[in-house]
């Protein structure tokens, strides 16, 4: 595994025997053992309904842990605002507030935490520039393309300077080209900030392109069936997707999914 900066001794997320059962009795997750190092980029693959989203919700604290243990300790140093400021969440769709401009949407998390207006504005503008939307700060979501809205959503997640970024199939609803470009931007952002990222996706090539490590889950109840490093160079240009080495990585992931019958759910 490549060296990933941060404090290697203290994982950002540590799960032991983590499980989850829905209200109607169906088991969503079973016996998950997982360590996620600070500063790593981890892709989480698996069929629909295998509990990937549930895992993100557990880690974010939106869902209560009822089985096993889970500790989330990603903060580098003291937390700036509130206990959960360490986590950013990006959903499958942008989920912006339509009555707020790009700037107001991105500043929302800071506003909710009581950060002073000017400070919030400065930080929001910086994040908007980070996702290359600098000229769109005054526009409203309905004036943006799907890809731009998603970038606003990412900027909103980054504005609190989270030490853990949870992304739940963020680009799944976009067309292929837009998705690839956003993947490249996201990889660049990660290289600069080294925020720990846990990225749920259905796409093998997206997982291989983005992540340093890929985890494959089985059908419900979700278990980890493969957990391996992505053996690709740290610097990845878009063209790497046509590389033989790249194909070999996706092949391994594909086989893991196939071996465990996980493909039925795709």
């Amino acid at each position: 595994m490549p060296s990933l900066g941060g404090d290697a001794a203290q994982p950002c997320v540590r799960a032991r025997g983590l499980g989850h059962v829905f209200g109607d009795g169906t088991a969503a997750l079973e016996d998950i053992d997982l360590d996620i190092e600070q500063g790593s980029f981890v892709a989480l693959l698996g069929p629909s309904g295998c509990g990937k989203s549930t895992l993100l919700r557990l880690i974010s604290g939106l869902e209560m842990v009822s089985r096993g243990t889970l500790s989330v300790d990603c903060a580098k140093g003291a937390l700036r605002e509130g206990a959960r400021s360490g986590i950013g969440f990006v959903f499958q769709d942008a989920h912006l507030l339509p009555w707020r401009t790009v700037l107001e949407n991105v500043a929302l998390p800071l506003e909710l935490r009581g950060v002073a207006r000017d400070d919030a504005r400065t930080r929001a503008l910086r994040c908007i520039a980070d996702v290359e939307l600098g000229d769109a700060e005054g526009r409203f979501p309905d004036e943006l393309s799907g890809g731009m809205r998603m970038r606003v959503s990412i900027a909103r997640a980054l504005v609190t300077e989270p030490s853990l970024l949870l992304m739940d199939e963020p680009f799944a609803a976009l067309d292929d080209l837009t998705r690839q470009r956003l993947d490249e931007r996201l990889r660049d952002l990660w290289k600069r900030h080294r925020t720990t990222v846990l990225f749920v996706t259905h796409s093998l090539s997206e997982a291989a392109f983005l992540a340093e490590r890929a985890i494959v889950m089985s059908r419900r109840p979700g278990r980890i069936v493969l957990d391996r490093a992505v053996e690709l160079p740290f610097e990845r240009a878009g063209a790497i997707r046509t590389d033989v080495a790249f194909a070999r990585q996706t092949e391994v992931l594909y086989q893991a999914l196939e071996r465990h019958g996980s493909l039925d759910g795709f």
């Binding site: 939106l62 959960r84 986590i87 989920h95 339509p98 909710l112």
Partner: protein, 258 residues
């Protein structure tokens, strides 16, 4: 949506109006229908002109009752919808009784309103309120229940308090739904006021349209009755248009489709 010019919007209904009124006038005259059954439009217009002052006074009286009732509905209805949205238990416990307001035969309980509130404006306004409040409660509630759950999650994740969530997320999200409820209520409030006047409207200095309708009916002044009905519809339309105008402006501010 294609933007249509004012003339292309106004012309078709205007043409319908002219055709219907002309056909009505001609057929009543040709068939020699008795005036107390169906008066020709010209007679209705004449009645409108002859009793203009009285009819205008009646319209204003009814408008006051309807407006008063509508504002009661708007404030109490949104408040109740909001309260019910706060707790599932509260909703289960109270919603069936809110539904009762929708199903209660207003004509049957109007005498009660006279007993409780005295004849006149107050009883009429309460009648308008009872008839129009349910759509406001129901639409406010469904609007608040329909808030994007992912955004709810996000607000939770960022530690937003109840009030911040209410004003920055829930209410703006529910606005289109609340506006729908208010639009329906505006029309119903006028109906409720007139029905209320049938029973409770006699103590006013200037009788409302409901009283005018009753009086015209007893005297077989069908032309006057028609005039009053037309004014009542116009009153409903005006209130509806006003609500539409205000809610449209608010919704545009919040960039939600009307």
């Amino acid at each position: 949506m294609a933007r249509s010019t004012a003339s292309s919007q106004l012309l078709p209904p205007l043409a319908t109006f002219v055709v219907v009124v002309t056909a009505w006038e001609i057929s009543v005259r040709v068939l020699d229908v008795p005036r107390f059954l169906v008066p020709p439009p010209s007679a209705v217009l004449a009645a409108l002109g002859a009793d203009l002052a009285m009819l205008a006074g009646s319209t204003l009286t009814t408008a006051r009752g309807a407006l008063f009732g509508f504002f009661l509905s708007a404030s109490i209805g949104t408040g109740a919808g909001l309260a019910l949205s706060l707790s599932k238990t509260l909703e289960r416990g109270l919603y069936p009784y809110a539904l009762f307001l929708q199903t209660v035969p207003i004509v049957a309980i109007a005498p009660l309103l006279v007993l409780w509130f005295g004849p006149g404006l107050r009883a009429v306004a309460v009648s308008a309120f009872i008839v129009s409040v349910f759509p406001v409660i129901a639409n406010t509630l469904s609007g608040l229940r329909g808030v994007d759950p992912r955004l709810k999650d996000l607000f939770r994740l960022y530690g937003a308090g109840r009030l911040a969530t209410l004003f920055k997320l829930d209410l703006p999200f529910a606005l289109p739904s609340i506006a729908t409820g208010l639009r329906v209520a505006s029309g119903l409030a006028v109906i409720g006021a007139i029905v209320g006047e049938f029973v409770a409207g006699f103590a006013e200095g200037s009788a409302g349209l409901g009283i005018t309708v009753l009086a015209a009916y007893r005297q077989l002044r069908t032309d006057l009755l028609f005039a009053a009905v037309i004014l009542a519809s116009l009153l409903g339309l005006t209130l509806f248009a006003a609500v539409n105008l205000v809610s449209g402006a608010v919704l545009r501010r919040f960039r939600t489709p009307t």
